[in-house]
């Protein structure tokens, strides 16, 4: 176990730039925007002057709230404002996750290929660890590791942004803001996100496994070896069976739809307990999505691809 953890640490040292510094820098830039927006009452962020149908001149975030109220009326605006407050409070979680997914892809793409190109595979192979353990460590580091680091940073950024907004933000006193930043909602959101990362990797695992296998096999450009076989298969499927099952399968596994997430925000006003419950329910929905033959089959295919990648690494001349 110690060796496995060390291998993951080694991956982190190698990819510190993508895994740690990229979400940190983006988070710092967003925080800068928050600071500027907070202390200039949002006017630095929203510099456009937009006249909506209600005749409200939008210069600040608060103006947007007023515009919605004016447009929809107080009752209809309430759930929309709650959803907007939620979106404002947790705004950094989405870009951080997307960045992490991009970093994951490039880590997996080079995971088995780069060590052969720079010949460092000879050094790693002089260490007493099996090829499968190395492959598994690379997989865990590139997927769970990258996502969880990005999410942890995004949670920190979110907390700092909330603290700043609570001090001087334009909507700190609004009931919507206070509700979405309350502790149960905060914890529910973060728990949902963390859990989503884990289940997402589970669903996407066969695609990730394929990328690692192609990376292990590729004599030169790993990207071509990753892309060409599935594209060729998809074209073959389309021409022969007039279907697009393969594309649908890949897209649904890489997208978030397989997780079964579903937020009802924006449709009705939710009380604090109801919102927290809604978030906890997301975890249950994600867990339920894994009790399916499709999920288990995906894990089996992923295991097969990872084993094949380790066999290629073991048997290939260096």
């Amino acid at each position: 176990m110690k060796a496995f953890v060390t291998l993951i640490r080694s991956e982190f040292i190698e990819h510190r730039g993508g895994q740690f510094w990229t979400p940190m820098v983006v988070g710092a830039l967003l925080l800068l925007l928050v600071v500027v927006g907070t202390f200039l009452n949002g006017s630095a962020v929203i510099s456009l002057e937009v006249n909506d149908s209600g005749g409200v001149q939008i210069r600040t975030v608060g103006d947007i709230y007023d515009a919605v109220r004016a447009e929809k009326g107080e009752t209809k605006a309430a759930p929309i404002l709650q959803a907007m407050a939620y979106g404002s409070a947790y705004f950094y979680l989405l870009p951080a996750t997307l960045i992490a997914l991009i970093v994951s892809f490039f880590m997996l793409l080079s995971s088995m290929n780069a060590e052969r190109v720079d010949r460092s595979i000879l050094f790693w192979k002089s260490m007493p660890v099996s090829d499968f353990k190395v492959v598994l460590a690379k997989f865990v580091a590139a997927t769970f590791g990258t996502l969880l680091i990005a999410v942890t940073i995004s949670i920190a950024v979110t907390l700092i942004a909330m603290a700043l907004a609570s001090v001087g933000g334009p909507f700190r006193a609004s009931p919507e803001w206070q509700l979405v930043t309350s502790l149960p909602v905060l914890l529910g959101t973060f728990a949902t996100l963390m859990t989503a990362c884990v289940f997402y990797v589970g669903w996407a695992a066969p695609v990730y496994g394929w990328i690692m296998l192609a990376s292990a096999w590729a004599p030169r450009s790993a990207l071509l070896y990753v892309v060409i076989p599935p594209v060729a298969l998809a074209i073959f499927e389309a021409l022969t069976f007039h279907s697009d099952y393969l594309w649908q399968e890949i897209a649904s596994r890489l997208g978030f739809e397989s997780l079964g997430l579903g937020f009802a925000l924006g449709e009705q006003v939710l009380e604090r307990a109801a919102l927290a419950e809604l978030l906890q329910g997301q975890v249950g929905q994600m867990a339920a999505s894994t009790i399916s033959l499709r999920f288990v089959a995906g894990l089996a295919v992923a295991a097969l691809f990872l084993w094949a990648a380790s066999e290629v690494r073991r048997r290939r001349s260096v």
């Binding site: 110690k2 010949r119 002089s126 048997r315 001349s317």
Partner: protein
């Protein structure tokens, strides 16, 4: 006698091109073994097979392990330095020591740090910032801090200057080798290490042409410098190799009684380079030796 390497019918081909023809080999423990041969002879193929770095055919056991299927266990007892700089270039020296300490149960981090402290290598430096000599020092510090039974060196001093080459082998001999440990080394600079070798394996065109201890070679082969006036006498004794230089010729004889050789001149030990040419050189191949 305990064997560190035992091969039966070991071979390796790349497509239809044989890199190592079927061979059998036994290397006893407590030896310093030189694997000698020209470029492309199959030295690295043999070494890579011994380390489980390539697929091979035949039976091969190294320290009782089958390298291809049991490499992880084998590497607990084997250290290896390849012919090229293989340390990951992105890593800092101190991180590298951390990683090896976390992976290798027989690595003594304090010993590696103590050795590095005697060099000009900064622990905070990245490998890519170091000179080739420094990279070898880092690799050597790691390898010598591993309590291994076998050290495999594949052209380890390639590209190093004379001082670094000398220091490298001095460190290996003083800090690694003892009666219970073995070293297998391939090198082109045979002259630099032949005085420390106890066993030699010569490979030519993928074939093991000689596998013997130095003691056996000394007993079997003798060299003598003969003036040109007595060349006919020397030729009559069927030397396996002859090399002309400045009015005299060096002859190498195989299994000739010492007394007979002494009649021609002062008998001496045959340099490995000469012996290799005698056994595997173009003269030997064409049957025109001497």
């Amino acid at each position: 006698m305990t064997m560190i390497v035992e091969a039966r019918g070991l071979s390796k081909s790349y497509g239809k091109v044989p890199a190592l023809r079927p061979c059998s080999l036994s290397i006893p423990a407590g030896r310093i073994v030189g694997v000698i041969g020209p470029n492309g002879a199959g030295k690295s193929t043999l070494i890579n097979a011994m380390l489980g770095l390539i697929n091979y055919d035949g039976d091969l056991k190294v320290l009782g392990h089958e390298p291809l299927t049991d490499r992880a266990a084998l590497m607990r007892e084997v250290s290896f330095i390849a012919d090229v700089a293989t340390l990951p270039r992105w890593i800092r020296v101190r991180d590298l020591l951390d990683i090896v300490a976390g992976i290798h149960p027989r690595f003594d981090r304090a010993a590696a740090e103590a050795r590095l402290a005697r060099t000009s290598v900064r622990p905070a430096a990245r490998v890519r910032e170091l000179s080739k000599g420094m990279i070898v020092q880092v690799h050597l510090a790691i390898v010598l801090a591993i309590d291994a039974r076998l050290l495999v060196l594949d052209e380890p001093t390639l590209g190093l200057d004379l001082i670094n080459r000398r220091a490298f082998y001095d460190a290996i001999l003083s800090d690694f080798f003892d009666e219970s440990r073995s070293i297998v080394v391939t090198t082109h600079q045979v002259e630099e290490i032949e005085h420390v070798l106890t066993h030699v394996v010569m490979i030519n065109r993928g074939e093991i042409v000689l596998d013997a201890s130095i003691d056996a070679l000394v007993e079997r082969f003798t060299a003598v410098d003969v003036v040109d006036a007595r060349a006919a006498e020397a030729q009559a004794l069927n030397p396996v190799y002859a090399r002309k230089s400045f009015g005299r010729t060096t002859y190498v004889f195989d299994s000739l009684p010492a007394g007979q050789v002494a009649l021609l001149g002062e008998p001496r030990r045959v340099p490995l380079a000469d012996l290799f040419v005698a056994i595997a050189g173009p003269q030997a191949a064409s049957g025109e030796v001497a």
